[in-house]
C-alpha cells in the first residue's frame, strides 16, 4: 500500500482501471499520509475525510460499471481554497470568508468531478492569493515539504506542498502573477498556467480578473497535460472563456524538440539571480540543444516594467473585486456596528489581513479620479507594450526559457517584513500573466542546500502544446541520466 503514493495521477488512474487498486484504497492512502504529514506541512485548510471516502466509493462503483473511463477516474485531488466547492467551506484563507459554504462548484472542479476525480479538501494559500509565500493565510503558514524551515511559495503554496508531500495525487491552483509556477518551483513539482481564457474562472473567487487563470500542480508533465485537457472548457458563464478546438493536450506528450526554436532572454539572467538557479536553468537549455533544439539568447524589451505594471493593474482589479466582501451576503460580519456603512467598514477592517488591505488601498488610489489616467491607464498602455515585446519574441521563437524565480524557497518569516522585496521576486512570472501567455514550471535540480529549482518555459498564446512537448522531452531525458 505504501508505494501507491509514489504513483503519478495517470499511473494511479491506470492501476484503478486495471483493478490493482480501488479509488477507496487511493483515498485511504492519501488520508493516512495527511494524518502523518499535516502537523508539519499544513497544506490544507479544510479536509472532509468521510465525504472524501464516500465520494471515492461512489467513483469506484461508476468505474466498475464502466460509467467512468477517463484517466483521472478515482484519483484524489486537492483544490486551492479560492475555488468554490458546493457544500464545502471555501475561505480564500481569509477571516472574512471563515464561514462561507458555497452553493455551487467552480467549473474547473465540476469538470474534474465529471471525469471521476475525487476532491479531498481545500488547500492553504496566501489570503485572497495575495502573496508569494503562503504566509499571509489567516489559518497559519504552510511549510515546504522538501525542508520545513522554508516556505512552499505562493500563493498556491498549499496545493504545491500537498503534491510534494504526497498528500494528494494532484492539485488545482490559480495563477495571477506566478502563483502556480513559483510554488511548483519551490516544492519541486510541475505547475502550469494556461493561456488566459483556457480554463473557466466561474467559481474562482476573483483577485485580478484580467490575469487570473486556474491550472494544475502535479507530479510530472504527463499528469499536467492530462489534467489540463480535463479542466479546459469553453464556459458561457465566464465571458472571457475562449472557444478552443485544440485542447487535446496529451497529444503533445512527444519526446522530440528537433528544430524547436528556444529563446533565452538575456535580462532574465542578470543581477539578483541565485548562481545555482542560473546554472540549473541553463543546463536545461543545453540539454534541449543536445536533443536538437536551436537555442539563442535575445533581448526581451520592457522586463523591468512588468512588476510596477502588474501591481497597478492587479491591485486596481482587486480593490474592485473585493468590494463584495461587506458582511451582507456571506462571510464574517463585525459585531456592534449599528449603522450600515459603519458595518461595512468595520467588517472589512476586521476581516482582511494587512497584505490584502495594502493592495486594496493602492488599487483604490490608482483608480481614484485625478490619478486614474496617470497610474491605471498608464499601466494598461505599458501592458500593451509588454504584450508587443512578447509578440516580437514569438515571431522568432517557439518558446522562451528562463528561471521561475530568482532564488529557491526562502526561509519562513523572512519575506513579509519587506513587501517591495517580495514583489521583486515575481519578475520572471508576472509578465506572462500580463500578456495572457501560458507558462510551465518543471523541476530541474536542487541548489546547494537541497532545495528544488524550477525552469520556466513560456509559450505564445494557445501554444501549450509546444510547452508540453519541450517540458516532456526534457523530463524524459533527465530521467535517463
Amino acid at each position: 500500500m505504501s508505494d501507491i503514493l509514489s504513483l503519478t495521477a495517470v499511473e494511479l488512474g491506470k492501476a484503478i482501471k486495471a483493478g490493482t487498486y480501488t479509488a477507496v484504497d487511493a483515498m485511504k492512502a492519501v488520508i493516512e499520509q495527511i494524518e502523518k504529514c499535516e502537523e508539519t506541512v499544513h497544506a490544507y485548510v479544510t479536509i472532509d475525510k468521510e465525504a472524501a471516502l464516500a465520494k471515492a466509493a461512489e467513483a469506484q462503483k461508476k468505474i466498475e460499471a464502466g460509467e467512468l473511463t477517463g484517466p483521472l477516474a478515482g484519483v484524489p485531488v486537492a483544490i486551492k481554497d479560492n475555488m468554490c466547492t458546493e457544500g464545502m467551506l471555501t475561505t480564500c484563507s481569509s477571516k472574512i470568508l471563515s464561514n462561507f459554504v458555497p452553493t455551487f462548484s467552480s467549473e474547473a472542479v465540476i469538470n474534474l468531478e465529471k471525469a471521476g476525480a475525487v476532491v479531498i479538501g481545500k488547500t492553504n494559500m496566501d489570503e485572497f492569493a495575495m502573496g508569494s509565500t503562503t504566509e499571509t493565510s489567516y489559518y497559519g503558514v504552510t511549510r515546504n515539504p522538501r525542508n520545513p524551515e522554508h516556505v512552499p511559495g505562493g500563493s498556491s503554496g498549499g496545493s504545491a506542498a500537498a503534491v510534494a508531500a504526497q498528500e494528494c495525487f494532484f492539485a488545482l491552483g490559480s495563477d495571477t502573477g506566478g502563483s502556480i509556477r513559483q510554488p511548483a518551483s519551490y516544492c519541486g513539482v510541475v505547475g502550469l498556467k494556461p493561456t488566459y481564457g483556457t480554463v473557466s474562472r466561474y467559481g474562482l473567487i476573483a483577485y485580478g480578473s484580467s490575469l487570473d487563470q486556474i491550472g494544475p500542480l502535479c507530479k510530472d508533465v504527463t499528469d499536467c497535460a492530462t489534467i489540463l485537457e480535463t479542466i479546459a472548457s469553453h464556459d458561457p458563464k465566464d465571458s472571457t472563456s475562449m472557444k478552443r478546438e485544440d485542447t487535446d493536450f496529451t497529444s503533445a506528450l512527444v519526446k522530440d524538440v528537433k528544430g524547436m526554436k528556444i529563446g533565452i532572454p538575456k535580462s532574465y539572467f542578470g543581477e539578483g539571480l541565485q548562481e545555482d538557479v542560473k546554472e540549473a536553468v541553463l543546463a536545461v537549455a543545453e540539454k534541449l540543444k543536445e536533443l536538437g533544439a536551436e537555442v539563442e539568447e535575445f533581448d526581451l524589451d520592457h522586463v523591468k516594467y512588468a512588476i510596477p505594471t502588474y501591481y497597478t493593474i492587479a491591485d486596481a482589479e482587486a480593490s474592485s473585486n473585493l468590494e463584495r466582501f461587506d458582511g451582507v451576503k456571506y462571510g464574517y460580519r463585525a459585531e456592534d456596528a449599528d449603522e450600515l456603512h459603519r458595518m461595512y467598514k468595520k467588517t472589512r477592517s476586521e476581516g482582511f489581513g494587512p497584505e490584502v488591505k495594502r493592495r486594496i488601498m493602492l488599487g483604490s488610489f490608482v483608480l481614484s479620479s485625478g490619478y486614474y489616467d496617470a497610474y491605471y491607464l498608464k499601466a494598461l498602455r505599458v501592458k500593451a507594450l509588454i504584450k508587443k515585446a512578447f509578440d516580437d519574441a514569438f515571431a522568432k521563437y517557439d518558446i522562451i526559457l528562463g528561471p521561475v524565480a530568482p532564488t529557491t524557497a526562502p526561509k519562513l518569516g523572512c519575506s513579509l517584513s519587506n513587501p517591495m522585496q517580495m514583489y521583486l521576486g515575481d519578475i520572471y512570472t508576472i509578465s506572462v500573466n500580463l500578456a495572457g501567455l501560458p507558462g510551465i514550471s518543471v523541476p530541474c535540480g536542487t541548489d546547494k542546500n537541497g532545495l528544488p529549482i524550477g525552469v520556466q518555459m513560456i509559450g505564445d498564446c494557445f501554444a501549450e502544446k509546444k510547452l508540453i512537448r519541450a517540458a516532456y522531452t526534457y523530463e524524459q531525458a533527465a530521467k535517463e541520466v
Binding site: 462561507f100 459554504v101 452553493t103 488566459y196 481564457g197 484580467s210 458561457p236 465571458s239 472571457t240 475562449m242 520592457h302 516594467y305 510596477p308 501591481y311 497597478t312 480593490s319 468590494e323 461587506d326 458582511g327 451582507v328 451576503k329 456571506y330 462571510g331 464574517y332 460580519r333 456596528a337 449599528d338 449603522e339 450600515l340 459603519r342 458595518m343 461595512y344 467598514k345 472589512r348 477592517s349 482582511f352 494587512p354 488591505k357 495594502r358 486594496i360 488601498m361 493602492l362 488599487g363 483604490s364 488610489f365 490608482v366 483608480l367 481614484s368 497610474y375 498608464k378 494598461l380 498602455r381 505599458v382 500593451a384 507594450l385 504584450k387 517591495m420 500580463l434 495572457g436 498564446c461
Partner: protein, 97 residues
Amino acid sequence: MANVISDETIDYVGILAKLDLNVEEKEQAKKDLAEMLDYIDELGELDTTGVEPMSHVFPVHNVFREDVVVNGDDSENILKNAPGEKDNMFLVPKTFD
C-alpha cells in the same frame, strides 16, 4: 521618497476602500503607498504616446447571451450564508435614522 501621501489623501482612499485604519495602520499605509508609487513612477520613463490602453489581451469585446434564466431559485441555500436573514431577505443594520 518622491511621493508624499498626506493625511487627507489616506483618509480619502480609506473611504473609497471602505477600510477603517487605526493611527498606526494609517502611518504604515502612507509609507507603503508612497513607496509603491515611487516604484510605479518608473513607468513614466516609457513613452506611451499613441499606445492604446490594453484591458484584454485578446480582441474579445462584449460577449452577449440571451436574457434567459437558467438557474433555479436557490434563495434558501444562499441565505444560509448570510450573517443576517429575515423573511427570505438579507438583514442589515439600519441605513438611516
